[in-house]
Subunit: 199 residues, 2 copies
DNA sequence: TCGATATTCGAACGATCGTTCGAACCCATG
DNA sequence: CATGGGTTCGAACGATCGTTCGAATATCGA
């Protein structure tokens, strides 16, 4: 990788950490300069401005999440619907735990972008939501569409809320947390339909 | 109610709406002045500053949530553990739907307070979390404490994430959403233990 | 009606914000 | 060593922020 790209990458990662700790709006460009070791003016050689910095972080991270999820599902094209759902959950939670800072910025600063950048990130997010809703359709085909859509957001709530409480260095490792969430959701959403109430 | 208190109350409500729409940090005191009809300087007669305004909103709202939850459980002291959990969920979700703006500020701006005010709000939050964890202990006594604690936060994730997607004027009314969440959580968390896997 | 108290506000302050600009620096190539 | 483009940065700009202060206005009991 060219020195430029490498330096940009490191800059984005460190900036994401600061955004995650202090929040986007209350982080100043001077804070970022101090945290990255660059000068105030020097950062503008890599990024057009503060909002583009946020955009670059979100775009890069979201693209990775989406690509990772699709990759996690490619090997399971013929697998059980529930198994594919679990793979999606496991990937999301472990990725989240491994990239807490970026994912916190993604979750918490979802509405801090404007205009074209806002739309571009929303487009990726839309694809990611659609991916999950497709999985839910396979898991619970008889569920009313409106409930299924709500269930998708409820599941995202379980997973994305993580940044408010989860400590990756604590007692629960990411795999166990993913298992807990998968158990709670599929046990309540899928089985309550197909096994208990359904056929 | 004295005119002063009434005006303060209305001021807090309208400010909460602006905070919910624009975010706390990017809302200026001038924005609030325009939204409330007060003058810039006039607001400082009611509130010591911007952060105290956020504190007053959070404190007032959290106190109501906590009191409401306790009230919703008082009549069910001898009821089934699962039934009490459902009552908690139903109260939280319906209160959330009825006070979206304040609750969004509560969820999204949890770390925007500092010092003494931060601690005071955290204390109320702690009591509220403890209330739920107590309910979960009754529902699933055999669950490992660490999983039960995580499950509490997972449930809060389902409910609090609402502000990112839920439209109270949409197809799903709050009661139905509360039912969906209660079904998902208790079906997956409680029953997977006591009914399916447990005894 | 008068005076005291409660409430409102125009105008301004100092601080800090994101951004810009031109010069200085680094370093591979001739 | 000279040169040119890629990279860094000190210093400053205008804008906007939260807050303050003293005066102006509203309210109400005596």
């Amino acid at each position: 990788m060219r020195p430029y790209d490498e330096r940009l990458d490191q800059f984005l990662s460190r900036a994401a950490k600061v955004f995650a700790d202090q929040g986007y709006h209350s982080t100043t460009m001077r804070d970022l300069a101090a945290a990255t070791g660059m000068s105030l003016a020097g950062m503008y050689y890599y990024v057009r401005g503060k909002e583009e910095l946020l955009y670059r972080i979100q775009d890069r991270c979201f693209a990775r999440v989406l690509a990772g999820a699709e990759r996690a599902l490619t090997g399971l094209a013929d697998a059980d619907a529930l198994e594919r759902l679990h793979a999606f959950i496991r990937h999301h939670v472990t990725f989240f735990a491994a990239h807490m800072a970026e994912m916190k910025v993604l979750s918490h600063e979802a509405n801090s972008l404007t205009g074209e950048r806002q739309r571009k990130v929303s487009a990726i997010k839309r694809r990611y939501v659609d991916l999950l809703e497709g999985l839910l359709k396979d898991v619970a085909p008889d569920e009313p569409a409106v409930d299924r859509s709500a269930a998708a957001y409820v599941l995202f709530g379980m997973m994305n809320w993580i940044y408010n409480w989860y400590d990756p260095a604590g007692e629960i490792d990411p795999e166990r947390l993913a298992g807990l969430i998968a158990r709670i959701f599929s046990g309540g959403f899928a089985e309550a339909r197909s096994t208990v109430h359904g056929g």
